[in-house]
């Protein structure tokens, strides 16, 4: 399809289907829950034509990888340290 016609089709599709906000939310949701067929189809079609949303979904998956790694280490390597004074006060109270 020539470029101009394709862009008209794409802008039509973007107008009648879900916006990015709904489509990208549904894309995250469908990884854990089944969507109604119509919603799922609309979302898939939106993603086919929308680089912003496909990028968002990819970034979201990458962020999940990082988040899971980060929180799994929390127990072994807590990123924050409580103040010494606070710990001393706790020790007193637990006697």
């Amino acid at each position: 399809m020539p470029g101009k016609e394709r862009s008209i089709v794409v802008s039509y599709i973007m107008r009648v289907l879900q916006g990015c906000e709904e489509a990208s939310l549904l894309a995250l949701k469908q990884r854990e829950e089944a969507l109604p067929l119509r919603k799922k189809l609309e979302m898939k079609i939106h993603l086919l034509f929308c680089s912003c949303c496909t990028n968002f979904v990819k970034q979201s998956e990458k962020i999940d990888i990082s988040l899971n790694g980060f929180f799994q280490q929390l127990s072994e390597e807590p990123p924050f340290t409580a103040h010494g004074d606070f710990k001393a006060m706790l020790k007193e109270k637990l006697k």
Partner: protein
């Protein structure tokens, strides 16, 4: 059989419980208060520790319940559902073009997250940015977000704990993701 030894708790668990509470509340003083309440409540009920779980798991579950109470008390009139309703316009205007069928405002460059190898996402460098960005999440959003990612709870449990509808649960998670990715793309604005 009770095998718990309170004299060792502070050295063994404070930094972990404090970090946990800080991610949940985003506030240092409130995290300290919650950790203190947890230790005192555990100390008072130490006879009840059965040794079925580890001391750490036991203390974490006490802290977790204190945090749920903390959020319930702190509602200050606005439930999470109401919070979403009153902030929708701001959120939409910030991240989406409301005049163009809610298209993303801009494709955020330089888009290094999508192109980073997974190994980089687990490095201390990237996770430092992640930590900065997590701490910037609004208080109302972080409770549900950390329940999913830190506690790995199921959506039904989270909806019940925080009294939200399943559909708003997804809106909260989605907003958190949008905010996190924008912050991460700016590398936490290196603040």
């Amino acid at each position: 059989m009770n095998t718990t030894d309170p004299s060792k708790w502070v050295d063994l668990y404070t930094d972990y419980l404090f970090s946990y509470a800080l991610f949940k509340t985003g506030n240092r003083e409130e995290a300290e208060d919650l950790v203190q309440e947890t230790f005192l409540s555990a100390f008072k009920n130490r006879e009840g520790f059965q040794g079925n779980s580890t001391e750490k798991t036991w203390l974490t579950s006490i802290l977790k319940n204190k945090i749920i109470d903390y959020y319930r008390k702190k509602k200050s009139g606005l439930s999470l559902d109401e919070y979403l309703d009153t902030t929708t316009q701001d959120f939409d205007n910030t991240y989406f073009n409301v005049d163009a069928n809610h298209h993303f405002n801009a494709d955020i460059g330089p888009n290094y997250i999508s192109e980073s190898p997974d190994a980089y996402l687990l490095t201390k460098e990237f996770q430092k940015f992640l930590e900065i960005c997590l701490m910037k999440l609004p208080m109302k959003i972080r409770a549900v977000f950390t329940a999913k990612y830190l506690d790995e709870e199921k959506s039904e449990t989270i909806c019940k704990e925080y009294n939200i509808t399943p559909s708003n649960y997804w809106v909260l998670l989605f907003r958190a993701k949008v905010m996190l990715r924008e912050c991460l793309e700016k590398k936490g604005v290196l603040s």
